[in-house]
């Protein structure tokens, strides 16, 4: 049986308190690195673990940290991406609400490794409870000397600030987040320079997701080999899967990386009574949909990429045979269109056009040639946008058009939605 690590205390009513966290071995990783390891050694531990970012792109965390210049005449920053806007995703909220000290300790260890004295946690503004719990955890940790000047008697100084978002999905894109933190409209920046070299206030900056940072203390305590032994070697570790939609037991599940999607859906109780699973979106709505016959794929970065989709945020949305895929595709593109920051034309105008065509098909007013039109639009958007939002939208629509073409065609031929 797989032993949950990140969610160990998640159901404990006092799981958010320092006393509970300490009783379970909390803050020992921080004490250990300050006592036994140089910052470079911590970066090496994380490199050896093969930890890959849990925010969506799966970039190797140790490698990212290694890009931070050793000597810099400017302060370095650690930013935690807690914007969690990818539809279908709720893992970071649950960590912050139910086990916020895991994040606080992860921030402290990671900041020590990269040489940052200040961290900003960018939390979406809707997460009021998570923000309160995190504030409380930071205050408790400061009281106990885990944060502040001279952490645990060392010469490491560390402060965490919370920055509340105000309802814009694009702030989850790391350079848009930096713009937002600097008090500007959240529009992605050109890369390079990469944030590790010139990020927040043009200083070296590491941006990591909540779950990524929460893994770090466990890697320190149990060792990189423990981490690497869970799941595929190139994409290892315990993983939080957010399962929602048309399943019996939606919820947050901690299981090994690489678990077959079919098994994950079974953990979540399987389909609703009398229903058959038609499709699964495996990594938030930016991840291309997988048809019901493709559920044997492993839930890790490489296996899902090979299957034409992506692990993304591991927001697993289950769709059964009662649901119209044209409607799902329309809703997803409406989302991207609404959240487009407006900076580049293919995304801003292209998605506007795609939404119009999709709405017309869904309402039974589609015309022959509309599907070709959609494909042309996807081609015009994909690879031509400033950030990955536009790409995600185009990839998702292409997958829906490929796997569920018959449903699109039926809408156009029958001049109505067959599901209504």
């Amino acid at each position: 049986m797989f032993e949950p690590v990140l969610l160990k205390n998640i159901d404990a009513p006092d799981g958010h308190l320092l006393s509970t966290y300490e009783a379970g071995g909390g803050y020992q990783a921080l004490a250990k690195v300050l006592r036994e390891h140089t910052p470079d050694e911590v970066v090496d531990l994380v490199k050896q673990s093969n930890l890959r970012g849990r925010g969506g792109a799966g970039f190797p965390t140790g490698m990212k940290w290694g890009f931070v210049p050793k000597r810099a005449d400017k302060p370095k920053y650690l930013c935690c991406n807690a914007d969690e806007g990818e539809p279908g995703t709720f893992k970071d909220r649950i960590i912050m609400e139910s086990a916020p000290h895991q994040l606080v300790e992860g921030l402290a260890v990671s900041a020590y490794a990269i040489g940052a004295e200040t961290a900003y946690v960018y939390v979406r503004g809707e997460y009021v409870k998570a923000i309160r719990r995190l504030e409380q955890a930071i205050a408790e940790a400061r009281e106990k000397g885990y944060l502040g000047a001279g952490v645990l008697g060392s010469d490491f100084n560390f402060t965490i600030h919370i920055h509340c978002g105000a309802g814009a999905y694009i702030c989850g894109e790391e350079t848009a987040m930096l713009e937002s933190l600097e008090g500007k409209r959240a529009q992605p920046r050109l890369k390079p320079p990469f944030p590790a070299v010139a990020g927040l206030y043009a200083s070296p900056t590491v941006i990591n997701n909540v779950e990524t940072l929460a893994c770090v203390p466990h890697i320190v305590m149990r060792g990189p080999h423990w981490f690497r032994a869970i799941g595929p070697d190139k994409s290892p570790g315990p993983k939080l899967y957010c399962v929602s939609g048309q399943v019996r037991k939606p919820g947050l599940y901690e299981l090994p990386m690489g678990i077959p999607l079919r098994e994950l859906v079974e953990h979540a109780g399987g389909p609703l009574p009398g229903r058959r699973i038609k499709a699964v979106i495996p990594g938030g709505v930016s991840a291309p949909v997988i048809a019901g016959d493709g559920l044997d794929v492993g839930m890790d970065f490489d296996s899902l990429a090979a299957a034409g989709s992506m692990l993304g945020s591991a927001g697993v949305i289950v769709i059964d045979d009662s649901t119209c895929m044209v409607k799902v595709a329309t809703r997803i593109i409406e989302f991207f269109h609404h959240e487009s920051c407006g900076k580049c034309t293919p995304c801003r105008e292209g998605l506007n056009w795609v939404v119009k065509v999709l709405r017309r098909i869904e309402s039974g007013e589609g015309a022959p040639g509309d599907l070709e039109q959609l494909e042309k639009l996807c081609k015009g958007i994909f690879g031509n946008t400033f950030c990955a939002l536009g790409d995600g939208a185009a990839m998702g629509l292409r997958a829906a058009l490929t796997h569920f073409r018959d449903e699109f065609v039926a809408h156009i031929e029958e001049r109505r939605c067959p599901f209504h």
Binding site: V128, A166, G167, L181, R185, Q246, P250, V318, F335
Partner: protein, 170 residues
């Protein structure tokens, strides 16, 4: 603490005052309910930043309201997971119950009804945020009970307001 003090406290967290515009707008909105022009200008003046910078943010982020909204802002999620769990029917029900369309405010200014993108709580879909609180696993019965509770709360708040306003001894 006054609004100015709260904003100055928030601004101390950043090396650059411009970073404090977002937190300052959140503070100002909590204070005033929404963000009319004069409030935006006050925020700019407290921080000593360009007014245009403040306007820019107030109009970019969806949680900022430059127009007044109702006492309770009903924010129903209609993204995919909630849609799969029946948010469409809940929206219709809310519109019928309140006699308004999404985006509008009831004439008594108690309720503003909006649909929002994923609230990050899809495990309890369908979900609606009201004020700071999430309400999940909603169905028609729960919506009815919730609205009844909010109306009662509003009644009490208005009652208390009237009592406060009454001259002492009368």
């Amino acid at each position: 603490m006054s609004m100015r003090e709260k904003i100055e406290e928030a601004a101390a967290r950043y090396p650059d005052q411009r970073s404090a515009i977002m937190p300052a707008l959140l503070i100002a909105q909590n204070e005033h309910g929404h963000l009319p022009g004069p409030v935006l200008e006050e925020v700019a003046d407290i921080l000593g930043v360009e007014r245009i910078w403040v306007y820019e943010l107030a109009t970019f982020y969806t949680l900022f309201h430059t127009e007044p909204i109702g006492m309770f802002h009903l924010q129903l999620c209609d993204n995919v997971s909630c849609m799969l769990c029946g948010s469409d029917a809940l929206l219709k029900h809310l519109e019928a119950l309140l006699g308004i369309r999404k985006g509008d405010t009831t004439p008594d200014r108690l309720f503003t009804l909006s649909t929002v993108e994923c609230l990050g709580a899809c495990e309890m879909a369908p979900v609606m945020q009201v004020g700071d609180d999430y309400h999940g696993e909603l169905d028609i019965g729960r919506i009815d009970a919730l609205l009844a509770r909010l109306r009662a709360e509003a009644g009490e708040a208005i009652g208390a307001g009237l009592a406060d306003a009454a001259p002492p001894g009368e």
